[in-house]
């Protein structure tokens, strides 16, 4: 028995090409955001993790998540704010898990296997200060920490930071003030 099949080549091709065009346009838009916000994501992650390799991994994951949700995030300000928040969150998660791992390893490590502690002469003053600064930053509340990191990133004004976080300018200024004050108290 012969089957009759109704073929509408014009419509099918039209559907495919429309989908492809849509995707190509979205990819082009995402590429623009990627070039603009990729370094921002890396720096936010770096501000939390202080390790370039880990920060790169986190930034990559955050950017891919942003791509997955790009339909909601086409507006540039919305995209930046979302990316900053998700990157900061992912970086904090990774930092916490790294801390847990370090603690576990320290508990299991035998004293004779531990690396020899550097002498006071070996430690440069700047490195010691950097370590104290890092510890002080880790102890900051999350919202203060995020504002401190964003305000320290080159090329972003406090107005842009406020727009990214979706909070008023005054809130950003007060958070920054308290964050720096806490750091200063810890470093004294």
């Amino acid at each position: 028995m012969r089957e009759l099949v109704l073929i509408q080549p014009g419509r099918a091709l039209e559907g495919v090409s429309r989908r492809e065009l849509e995707r190509a346009r979205a990819d082009r838009e995402f590429e623009e955001r990627l070039a603009e916000c990729g370094p921002l994501a890396f720096r936010v992650a770096q501000g939390v993790l202080r390790n370039a390799a880990d920060a790169e991994d986190v930034a990559q994951e955050a950017l891919l998540r942003a791509y997955r949700n790009f339909a909601r995030l086409r507006e540039p300000a919305k995209f930046r704010g979302w990316l900053v928040r998700i990157t900061f969150r992912l970086a904090l998660d990774r930092w916490r898990s790294a801390k847990r791992r370090e603690r576990r390893e320290a508990e299991w490590l035998q004293p004779e296997w531990r690396a020899a502690a550097p002498t006071a002469e070996d430690v440069a003053a700047s490195r010691e200060f950097q370590a104290r600064l890092e510890r002080a930053m880790e102890e900051l509340p999350e919202q203060f920490r995020l504002v401190l990191v964003l305000a320290a990133i080159e090329g972003y004004t406090l107005e842009e930071v406020a727009a990214m976080l979706g909070v008023p300018m005054g809130t950003v200024k007060s958070r920054l003030f308290f964050a720096r004050k806490k750091l200063l108290e810890k470093l004294r």
Binding site: E22, A26, D27, L34, Q46, A52, Q60, E154, R180, L184
Partner: protein, 237 residues
């Protein structure tokens, strides 16, 4: 003001990024050597702190970051390619899946509602006066019981007798042609209805004597019950 208070104010001025100190603070810094030293040390510390944070954050972005994201992007299906109506359709389908069986179940339970034996039961009584709905509501507070009570109190529809127009015409013709007989028929019908509706008693039938008589023959057969329960037939000519 003590030096402690001045130092607090000096720190705050530095944290706010004020380029110049207020007159009172500047005068105290000039007058107090310790506070001047504190101010200088705080200025250096804050400068070092800001530099440290900036150095920490503004590290060079690895060149591999963007190519890695581009390469991984191929494997990621963006959510935007899905229809935006899909979540809505899912919610509607879920709601239907829940609501339709629920509505059916409610309808079934309403029809098969078993009333608590302790609760008052409303029964239809022909001669009893109709119960007020507010009383029924107070006796049956639940909605299902109210429905049941409404069904119960609802007067039944009396089926009407179907009379053909030909029958009506025949009765009218009969009444016009034989008015006396019509009146008698009506009276008899009324009497019959009165007799039927009046109370009566059913008693066992007692037969004392039965006679069988042929119509053409003059011979008569008589049946007479006797005392021992049997019957006796006799023929008379």
């Amino acid at each position: 003001m003590s030096c402690e208070v001045y130092r607090e104010s000096l720190s705050d001025a530095l944290l706010r990024g004020e380029a110049t100190l207020s007159a009172a603070l500047a005068e105290h810094v000039r007058a107090c050597a310790d506070c001047a030293e504190f101010y200088e040390s705080q200025k250096q510390l804050l400068g070092a702190m800001d530099l440290g944070v900036r150095a920490m954050v503004n590290e060079k972005v690895p060149a591999s970051l963007l190519p890695r994201v581009r390469a991984q992007r191929e494997a990621v299906e963006p959510a935007r390619l899905r229809s935006p109506l899909l979540p809505t359709a899912g919610v509607v389908a879920l709601a239907l899946l829940i609501l339709v069986p629920l509505a059916r179940w409610r309808a079934r339970t309403a029809s098969q509602q078993t009333i608590n034996p302790d609760a008052p039961i409303v029964r239809e009584q022909k001669d009893a006066p109709r119960m007020d709905e507010s009383i029924v509501l107070s006796m049956h507070p639940s909605r299902e019981r109210l429905r049941a009570a409404k069904r119960c109190c609802k007067p039944e529809v009396v089926p009407q007798e179907a009379i053909l127009s030909a029958e009506q015409a025949a009765v009218a013709r009969f009444a016009s042609e034989h008015p006396e007989e019509m009146a008698e028929t009506v009276r008899a019908a009324e009497l019959e209805s009165i007799e039927l509706s009046s109370p009566f008693e059913i008693v066992p039938l007692k037969i004392e004597r039965v006679e069988f008589a042929p119509l053409e023959d003059d011979t008569k057969t008589k049946f007479s019950p006797v005392d021992n329960g049997s019957a006796q037939f006799s023929e008379e000519h």
